[in-house]
Amino acid sequence: MFVDTVIEDKALHKPVFLIGLSVTVLAIFFAFNLTNTIFGEFLSPVIGNPEESGFFGRLAVSFVLTILFVGNLLLISFARLKIQILIVWIELFLLFLAFAYSFDLEIAYIFQNDFICSTESARAKLCTPSKIGLMISKGLFTTIYISAVSIAIATVIAIVGAVAKLSNNGFAYAISSFYTSLFRGLPLLLQIYLIYMGLPQLGFMIDAIPSGIAALSLCYGAYMTEIFRAGIQSIPKGQWEASRALGFKFGLILRKIILPQSIPIIVPPTGNQFIAMLKDSSLVSVLGIWELMFLAKKLGAKDFNHLEMLLTAAMIYWVLTIILEMIQARIESKYKQKT
């Protein structure tokens, strides 16, 4: 991104802004009465019994919190950019943990043995002693497997669809535009049901995993068709003309000249699609596929410890998407160097 060469004063270092911010934050903390929380307990030496501290206690708690909040911002503002980013990340993450902690979860539950393992039927290889183990060995594996296959198929669909959409063949254009319209127009959940329940009506018996993969590939193939089309169209006309003037045929131009140049343009939005697809693969849990979401619901349901398992799944999804983001950044920087 373009960074201007003029350094502006930091807003946080202007007294007017600082005072305005402090007053606003104070008002917000004051509006939520926090005397009955952990903060009130901390301040009990000053304000006495939190329950009876009244207006003074409420003001004191908000005041201390405001000092902490604004002081924290002020301190961070003096750090270098990279340190700033790191500290803010860590603080936000701690806040998230505090949020999760406030659910009063039974963390050990995640690591307990699962009943599935003790049954005769599940004495299979994939059965592992703990719930988290099962989530990873079975759920994570299935999620990655479904996503990876769907991503590969969706990419192929997208290339074909984009070329069809750009061609002046009436059939190709009509089929491709009908396809993108339909599959972008229906909710993914509905597509999953339609494929799983609709195809058997036509006589195709289809298992849960193939129909899940089919729905994901078709849906994301439709989105990616548009991305690929835009990527191909963004290549200057001169590239086509130069190739045509050399006697290249259409397929050769696309393969050797246009697609390689559109990859850097296609990668960022396609990365977004991959990440979105990874998470949307949770929708196939409605077909009873043992992927992350399904297992999270199943394992938590027995003892009504839903949140423990859902949070576990949430963290696994998050880590997965972070890995995908890193891969995407790598590919992007690789193409930045080359062209």
Binding site: G238, A242, A245, L246
Partner: protein, 256 residues
């Protein structure tokens, strides 16, 4: 017509390019009006004229990057029309150099030059590479072979573009304002390359505003305005004794 009969009677000087009554429209706007033109083997033609006069359109019709609607265009004896099957084989014999270079930015200079022979003509990689290096030497930038186009100056890029076309061993070279996008100090290096190419006996059709180049190289200069060929003559006559008022006005502006 008399000219036409003469060339037909003499089979050795059969025109490599011939246009008869070629017209082209963009919607309602007529870009080319009834163009007749014949170019013989090894002839060097310079086309000039004010912007919007149709000179680029004309040259782009010669390898059918643009389609004409009326008249006939014959290239090396093959007629160009919308239902033709072998346009790619015709194009392989016609090199084209663009104003904006249009090099392939994701390929190195060497790969740019090898692309045509290797992928289209099916020449094996080793020979294509030798040929590419020979032509890069001819345009005097063999040392840039492994660089990417954007690492080169405009003049160098245009010389690579010329080499890329020559690698296909074309019978005709078309130049569409090859120096118009260049910084002034780089114009001469490209023109020098073109002069040398002319000396080697290549058939060339150049759309250009470089009148010095036209004087030095052209066998014939064609002046176009509003989609018509207004005047054509050998350079000496064209510059010293222009017949048409529009030509005179144009030359006054260009040469002043």
């Amino acid at each position: 017509m008399a000219n036409n009969i003469k060339t037909q009677s003499n089979s050795e000087s059969n025109p490599i390019i011939s246009l008869k009554g070629v017209s082209k429209w963009y919607d309602d706007f007529q870009a080319l009006k009834n163009i007749d033109l014949e170019v013989k083997l090894k002839e060097k033609i310079v086309i000039c004229g004010p912007s919007g006069s149709g000179k680029s359109t004309l040259i782009r019709c010669l390898n059918r990057l643009e389609a004409h609607q009326e008249g006939e265009i014959h290239i090396t004896g093959i007629e160009l029309h919308e239902r033709m099957k072998d346009i790619d084989t015709v194009r392989q014999d016609i090199g084209m150099v663009f104003q904006s270079f249009n090099l392939f930015p994701h390929l190195t200079v060497l790969e740019n030059c090898m692309a045509g022979p290797n992928w289209v003509r099916g020449i094996d990689e080793k020979e294509a590479k030798e040929r590419a290096m020979a032509l890069l030497k001819q345009v005097k930038i063999p040392e840039q072979a492994d660089k990417y186009p954007e690492q080169l100056s405009g003049g160098q890029q245009q010389r690579v573009a010329i080499a890329r076309s020559l690698c296909m061993q074309p019978k005709v070279m078309l130049f569409d304002e090859p120096t118009s996008a260049l910084d002034p100090e780089m114009v001469s290096e490209v023109l020098d390359t073109m002069v040398e190419l002319a000396k080697s006996g290549m058939t060339m059709i150049c759309v250009t505003h470089e009148m010095g180049f036209a004087k030095q190289v052209a066998d014939r200069i064609i002046f176009m305005d509003e989609g018509e060929i207004v005047e054509q003559n050998i350079p000496e006559e064209f510059f010293n004794n222009p017949q048409n008022d529009r030509t005179k006005a144009f030359l006054d502006q260009v040469l002043s």
